[in-house]
């Protein structure tokens, strides 16, 4: 399967600070990818590198087998909606579509107009008078009417109310179903993306902490609880992601592709939310990893 985004040791430095570092990634085509991480983790940097708005300080990035931003043919293949779904306030909805038609060779005016109609938007209305949800839908319409192979959306849901979020995701998933476009969308909340994504990339503190098919990630992580145990006594095939201990009980979140045989454990599957939080928390703990000493958390 071809990769839509492939990076190798990718890094971006601003002054002395690395916004993104040691990023090696291969995202297969046809996925809806959730790019998740706390604010400032490097999500926007990674997306901007993929569009070609930024150039890497080190390493390389390939998007749909081309160099990001490298000429009109490359730009045609990628649709991008920046944070806060920008639109030209003084231009009407219709003028936005006209501009899209002028600027994009593969523009599908019929698709654009049909979506605007479905959304109940007036072509004569100025973009500046649209609600946040409507503006987001206009930006999404622009990005998909150019018929890209890859759609990159930076925090598209952040400023939307719950109903607008749902409508936005409904529209997006309809396009995925009908056009088979690959999508990467970022959010600092996994809950927003859980229903739509089948691939997860977790960025924490400028580094990739976790990347993979969500079903595979969920199948290889388990919550174990049972009598108090030292993490060093666990089999070496089980990587401890998170642990907490009380006087008598220990709870671990482990990653393993082996079955868990120890009868002392109660084994519970993890939710995507728990998984993401565990990996995020791991980045903050002073001594992460499975060989850390037994700390007591009451």
């Amino acid at each position: 399967m071809n990769a839509v985004i492939e990076t190798n040791d990718l890094g971006k430095q601003y002054g002395r600070k690395w916004a993104l570092r040691d990023c090696t990634l291969s995202i297969p085509e046809g996925k809806v990818v959730g790019l998740v991480g706390p604010n400032g983790a490097g999500k926007t940097t990674l997306l901007s590198l993929a569009v070609g708005l930024l150039t890497p300080t080190r390493g390389s990035i390939t998007v749909l087998a081309g160099r990001p931003g490298d000429g009109p043919a490359q730009l045609e293949k990628v649709g991008f909606v920046a944070q806060d779904t920008p639109a030209y306030a003084g231009l009407s909805v219709g003028k936005h579509l006209l501009m899209g038609a002028y600027l994009n060779a593969n523009w599908d005016q019929e698709l654009a107009e049909r979506r605007i109609d479905q959304l109940g938007l007036d072509l004569r209305q100025k973009a500046g008078s649209l609600s946040g949800g409507q503006r987001a839908q206009l930006a999404l319409t622009m990005a998909i009417a150019k018929q890209p192979e890859l759609l990159l959306l930076d925090e598209p849901l952040a400023s939307l109310d719950p109903l607008a979020r749902r409508e936005f995701l409904q529209g997006l998933m309809e396009i995925v179903a009908s056009h088979g476009v690959s999508v990467v969308l970022s959010s600092h909340l996994i809950a927003d993306l859980e229903r739509v994504c089948d691939y997860l990339v977790l960025l924490v503190a400028s580094h990739i902490r976790l990347a993979g098919e969500i079903t595979a990630l969920l199948a290889t992580h388990h919550r174990l609880s049972g009598p108090r145990r030292d993490p060093r006594s666990l089999p070496s095939s089980q990587e401890v992601i998170e642990q907490s201990h009380t006087g008598k009980q220990s709870t671990f979140l482990v990653r393993t592709d082996q079955p868990i045989l120890d009868p002392a454990w109660t084994v519970r599957p993890v939710t995507l939310d728990e998984l993401v939080l565990a990996y995020m928390g791991q980045a903050h703990s002073p001594s992460p990893g499975r060989r850390s000493p037994l700390g007591v958390v009451s």
């Binding site: 809806v32 995701l169 409904q170 309809e174 179903a177 229903r195």
Partner: protein, 133 residues
Amino acid sequence: MIEFQLDTASGVATYLQLVQQVRHALQLGILEPGDRLPTAQQVVAKLAINPNTVLKAYRDLEREGLVRPRPGQGTFIVGTLPRSDPAVQERFLASMTTWLRKAHAAGLGPDDIEAIYRTAVRNSFAEGVEGVA
């Protein structure tokens, strides 16, 4: 046509919820051979879920011999599931209600009752009792 619903709090995988709803509709006679399932596009437009999730559910149902895709037309019900006797269902509903009233009177709350129910289901499933999955 069946309309899917999602229970996001249930913890049951989304594709499995879709599979269960089709099976359930077959058991209740809401769906019958020849009926068409909604297209992936129709489902995602309503539920805002990944289209692959719908396709995975339909593939599972196909593997069970319950549905078959017809190219260009959609996915159709071809199989049936044994429908349980309404009289039997009613009898068990009545005895369950009696049991619940007794449990309540004995001071058990909804959480206790649910825990007991789950344990019982798990135990009977381990013994190989069918139809409780």
